[in-house]
C-alpha cells in the first residue's frame, strides 16, 4: 500500500514539474519529426534535387538546399533518427556496462573491486575521443551502429564509479544481510534488493549517457569519422563547414543540425534536473 502511495506521489510531482515537462515535450517533438519527417519529402538526403545549388528555405525546400542542391530538410530528419539511435543504443550500452561493472565491484568488494576499480580509473583518464578516433580512422566502412558500439564501450566509466559507490553503501544494510542469510544468489540480490533502491538514480544516469552519446557522436562526425554510409546531424555540420557555408552565408545549412542537438541535449539535462527534484524532496522548490 505504501509503495503504491509513493508511486502516486512521484507521479503527482512529475506532472507539476515544469523542467521535466518542458524537456519531455521538446524530446517528443523532435522524435516525432524524426519519425514522420522522411515521409514528408520525396528527396533523398544526398540526391542533387535543386539544380540552382544553395537556395534559402522556400515552400518547396522547407529548410533550403545545400551547395550541391541537396534538400536540407531531408538530411535533417534522417539525421534526427541517427541522433536518437546513437543516444538510445550508445547511451544504453554505456549505462548497462557501467551497471554491470559498478554492481559487481561494489557488491563483491575485495580483489574483484580493486581490479575493476583500477580498470575504471584507467579508462576514465584516457580521453575517450582519442581512442575512438584512432579506432574509427582505421575502419574503412563505418555505420551508425558501429558508432553506437564505440561510444557505449568507452562511455561507461563514470557510471560504473557512481554505481559502485551507491552499491557500497547499500550492501551493508539489513535487508541485504537478510537476503544473504536466506541463501539468495548474489546476482538475484543485486537485481531484486539493491538495484530497485537506486532505480531513480539509474534512470538519471541513462538520461545523461543518452545526451553524452549524442554529443560524442556529433564530435566524431564533425572530425570526419562519422558513419560512411549514412547522414547525421554532425556530418551535416562537417559538410557545411568544409564547403564554405560560412563564407557564403548559407546559414540554413548549419543552423538546423546544431540547433536540434542543442535542444535535444538541453531538454535531456532539463529532464534530468526535473526528475532529480521529483525523486529528491530536498531539492523541490518550496
Amino acid at each position: 500500500m505504501s509503495e503504491q502511495k509513493k508511486k502516486n506521489e512521484f507521479i503527482y510531482f512529475a506532472f507539476r514539474n515544469k523542467k521535466l515537462l518542458v524537456g519531455l515535450a521538446i524530446i517528443l517533438i523532435f522524435l516525432v519529426l524524426g519519425l514522420i519527417g522522411p515521409f514528408l519529402t520525396d528527396n533523398e538526403p544526398f540526391a542533387y534535387a535543386n539544380p540552382l545549388g544553395a537556395q534559402p528555405p522556400s515552400s518547396e525546400y522547407w529548410f533550403g538546399t545545400t551547395f550541391f542542391g541537396q534538400d536540407v530538410f531531408s538530411q535533417f530528419v534522417k539525421g534526427l533518427r541517427a541522433t536518437f539511435l546513437v543516444g538510445a543504443i550508445g547511451g544504453g550500452l554505456g549505462t548497462i556496462i557501467g551497471m554491470l561493472i559498478g554492481f559487481t565491484a561494489g557488491y563483491r568488494g575485495g580483489v574483484v573491486d580493486e581490479i575493476l576499480n583500477a580498470l575504471t580509473n584507467i579508462v576514465l583518464v584516457i580521453p575517450t575521443l582519442a581512442v575512438l578516433l584512432i579506432i574509427a580512422a582505421y575502419l574503412e566502412v563505418r555505420s551508425i551502429f558501429t558508432e553506437c558500439l564505440f561510444i557505449g564501450f568507452t562511455a561507461w566509466p563514470w557510471t560504473a564509479r557512481a554505481i559502485r559507490a551507491q552499491t557500497f553503501s547499500l550492501r551493508t544494510r539489513e535487508f541485504v544481510d537478510l537476503a544473504k542469510l536466506s541463501g539468495m544468489k548474489s546476482i538475484k540480490i543485486i537485481f531484486t534488493e539493491i538495484a530497485p533502491n537506486m532505480m531513480s538514480y539509474l534512470l538519471l544516469t541513462f538520461i545523461l549517457q543518452f545526451g553524452g552519446a549524442i554529443l560524442t557522436a556529433a564530435t566524431l562526425d564533425f572530425i570526419g569519422l562519422g558513419p560512411t554510409n549514412a547522414i547525421s546531424l554532425g556530418l551535416m555540420m562537417q559538410y557545411a563547414v568544409l564547403w564554405g557555408a560560412l563564407q557564403f552565408g548559407t546559414w540554413w545549412w548549419f543552423v538546423p543540425p546544431g540547433l536540434a542537438i542543442t535542444s535535444i541535449v538541453g531538454a535531456l539535462y532539463s529532464m534530468n534536473v526535473g526528475l532529480d527534484e521529483v525523486f529528491n524532496p530536498k531539492l523541490r522548490e518550496m
Binding site: I126, I134, I135, Y138, F222, W251, G258, S270
Partner: protein, 332 residues
C-alpha cells in the same frame, strides 16, 4: 599522502602503458591493411609484381615483417627516442616535429579557456544559487550553453562575428600576410585570431561549471552543518563561504573528469577556425590517411591529459587538508 600519490602514479603509468599498447595494436589488428590502402590510393602501378615489390618494401620499412613481440619492443624503443615516424601528409617532416609546432597553439587556447571558464563558472554559479531571480534566468542559459556542441557554437560565432559583422577573422592563428615576429602588430594579430575560438571554448565550459556549482551549493546549504551554523546565528555570508569551500572540491575532481571532453571540444573548435593546433592537424591527417600522424596526435593528447590530471591531483592535495592528513577514505 604517500600512498595516495603512489596509487595515482601507478594508475597513470598503467594508463600510459595501455594507451601506447592501443596505439601500437590498432593499426596491426584492425580489419584492412594500411599499406595496401596506401598503395591503392597512390595507384602507382597496375603491375601485380611491382605492387608486391612495393608492398614488401614498405612492410620492411615500417618493420611489419618482424615477429609481433619484436615490433612491439621496437615501438617502445623508438618512442623513447622521440621517433614517431615520418608524416606522409607533410612529407618528409618527422611526426614529432609537426606535433611540437602545433602544441603551443593548443596550450595558448586550452589553458586560459579551461582555467577562466572554471573560475568564472564557479563564482557565478555560487552567486546564482538560491537567488530566485538569477536562478530562473541564468540556470536555463547555463543548461543551453553546456548542451551546445562545441563546433556549433564555434560555427555560429564565426558566422556572426566573422562574416555578418566582419570584425573577427575566422581562419588561422595570425594574419596570413605576416610572418611570426615579436612586434606589437603581430601579437595583436595573434590575439585577434585567438579570441573567437577561445570564446567558444570558454562559453560552453562556463555554462557547465556554473550549473555544477549551483547544484553543489544547494546541496551544501541544505546540509546539517549549514543549518547548524544558521541556528547558531552565523551570518549568511559565512555559511555561504563554508558551503563554497566544500562545493569546490567536487568541482576540482569534475575538472579532471571533464578534461577528455574539453580536449575533444578544442579539437573541433580548431577545425572550425582552422586554428593550427593538434585538432586541425588531426583532421588533415584523417583526410590524408596519414596514419603516423594520427597515432602521434593520439599519443600527444594522452600525454597532455595525463599531465593535466596529475597537476589537478597536486592542486587537490593543496586545497583539501584532509588528503594531507591521510584521512583520505576513498582515494585512487
Amino acid at each position: 599522502m604517500k600512498r595516495y600519490f603512489g596509487r595515482k602514479i601507478l594508475v597513470y603509468l598503467l594508463t600510459f602503458f595501455l594507451a601506447v599498447t592501443i596505439d601500437w595494436m590498432i593499426p596491426r589488428f584492425m580489419p584492412g591493411d594500411p599499406i595496401r590502402n596506401m598503395l591503392t590510393r597512390v595507384s602507382v602501378s597496375s603491375n601485380p609484381i611491382a605492387i608486391q615489390k612495393m608492398y614488401d618494401y614498405y612492410s620492411h620499412l615500417f618493420g611489419l615483417d618482424l615477429p609481433l613481440w619484436q615490433q612491439y619492443f621496437n615501438f617502445w624503443k623508438s618512442l623513447f627516442q622521440g621517433d614517431l615516424g615520418i608524416s606522409t601528409y607533410i612529407f618528409p617532416t618527422p611526426v614529432a616535429k609537426v606535433l611540437l609546432r602545433a602544441i603551443p597553439y593548443d596550450g595558448f587556447l586550452l589553458v586560459p579557456s579551461i582555467l577562466l571558464s572554471w573560475y568564472a563558472g564557479n563564482k557565478f554559479g555560487a552567486f546564482a544559487a538560491r537567488s530566485k531571480w538569477l536562478d530562473n534566468t541564468v540556470s536555463p542559459l547555463g543548461y543551453i550553453l553546456t548542451a551546445t556542441p562545441y563546433m556549433w557554437l564555434g560555427i555560429l560565432l564565426a558566422w556572426f562575428f566573422g562574416i555578418v559583422l566582419g570584425i573577427f577573422p575566422i581562419a588561422g592563428a595570425y594574419s596570413y600576410s605576416m610572418s611570426p615576429n615579436l612586434s606589437w602588430r603581430f601579437i595583436g594579430s595573434v590575439l585577434h585570431h585567438w579570441f573567437l575560438p577561445f570564446a567558444s571554448l570558454f562559453l560552453v565550459g562556463f555554462g557547465g561549471w556554473a550549473i555544477g556549482m549551483r547544484n553543489m551549493i544547494i546541496y551544501e546549504l541544505e546540509a546539517d552543518y549549514s543549518h547548524y551554523l544558521g541556528a547558531l546565528g552565523a551570518p549568511k555570508k559565512l555559511i555561504r563561504k563554508y558551503a563554497f569551500n566544500n562545493a569546490v572540491l567536487p568541482q576540482i575532481t569534475g575538472l579532471a573528469l571533464q578534461l577528455g571532453v574539453i580536449v575533444a571540444g578544442a579539437l573541433v573548435t580548431e577545425v572550425v577556425f582552422s586554428y593550427p593546433g593538434i585538432g586541425y592537424l588531426l583532421l588533415a591527417a584523417i583526410q590524408n590517411q596519414d596514419y603516423f600522424l594520427i597515432q602521434g596526435c593520439f599519443l600527444f593528447i594522452i600525454i597532455g591529459v595525463l599531465l593535466a590530471n596529475f597537476t589537478i591531483d597536486i592542486v587537490y592535495i593543496l586545497v583539501d587538508p584532509r588528503t594531507r592528513r591521510g584521512m583520505t577514505g576513498e582515494t585512487a
